[in-house]
């Protein structure tokens, strides 16, 4: 192969990451999406625990406070946020079980890993919908 041909094939390296590359150019494989969502949902739950503990504290303090929290939880922005946290918990739960199996060397081949990624994403959404319907 001539030197010119080599040059046309080569992509510019090293490639520096910027916001545009992160959003538009990098295509995460499906298990990668499960992984990053596992991390995001975990971080979100850690921060949101402050709010959840506050609601638990109020709801157990007195009957009047319980009723206020119940009313507060019924407001649509609160409801939507809680539903988001229910999803975060369900996703973290389902993806976590998948990782426990991966740790035991179960389902590590590409085909199974992709399939279980779909199962995790689907199951967490179905669980969220089910719990959401049960709660409200």
């Amino acid at each position: 192969m001539s030197e010119a041909a080599v040059k046309t094939v080569r992509k510019p390296r090293p490639k520096y990451l910027n916001l545009q590359a992160l959003i538009f150019e990098i295509r995460l494989p499906l298990p990668g999406w499960v992984s990053i969502l596992h991390r995001i949902s975990g971080a979100l739950l850690f921060v949101a625990l402050l709010w959840l503990l506050w609601m638990l504290d109020r709801s157990l303090s007195s009957e009047a406070a319980f009723d206020r929290i119940k009313h507060y939880a019924g407001l649509w922005p609160v409801k939507l946020s809680l539903l988001g946290l229910v999803w975060a918990y369900c996703h973290h739960f389902c993806a976590g079980i998948r990782y426990l199996f991966l740790d035991l060397d179960k389902g590590v081949d590409l085909e199974t890993a992709r399939l279980t990624s779909w199962v995790v994403l689907g199951a967490s959404i179905i669980l969220t919908a089910f719990l959401g319907l049960k709660i409200w």
């Binding site: 991390r39 975990g42 971080a43 850690f46 625990l49 402050l50 503990l53 638990l56 504290d57 709801s59 157990l60 303090s61 009957e63 319980f66 009723d67 918990y89 739960f93 976590g96 079980i97 426990l100 740790d103 719990l131 049960k134």
Partner: protein, 114 residues
């Protein structure tokens, strides 16, 4: 000269295992909690208060929070190690996270045994 990285030593396997064991503890609690809550509808203040007045529920919730504390510490520290490069800033954030976890745990005890 040895070029040491500021992360400490000898906790890798222990924390890796702890994160998985605490995950199983929390998963079991979650499943039990969901079943209890779904079978005792409608949840009035009385039902809610009586649930958390029971000894087993208080101890189980405390075990859940203890598991969460260790689990979240390993997880958040992993995130900080991945994204925060300056050692001083990372250490400061790690201390902040530890204090937050201690406060969460203390508050939980206060809520359960008020």
């Amino acid at each position: 000269m040895t070029n040491r990285i500021v992360t400490g030593a000898h906790y890798g396997l222990r924390d890796w295992l702890a994160q998985r064991i605490t995950a199983v503890v929390m998963a079991v609690y979650s499943v039990i909690a969901v079943i209890v809550l779904l079978t005792s509808k409608p949840i009035t203040y009385g039902v809610w208060r009586d649930l958390f007045a029971q000894g087993w529920m208080r101890v189980a919730t405390l075990l859940f929070m203890a598991s969460l504390a260790w689990h979240a510490w390993v997880g958040v520290r992993d995130i900080l190690m991945d994204y925060i490069k300056p050692a001083g800033l990372r250490l400061a954030l790690e201390v902040l996270v530890l204090l937050t976890i201690a406060a969460y745990a203390g508050w939980t005890i206060q809520i359960l045994w008020r």
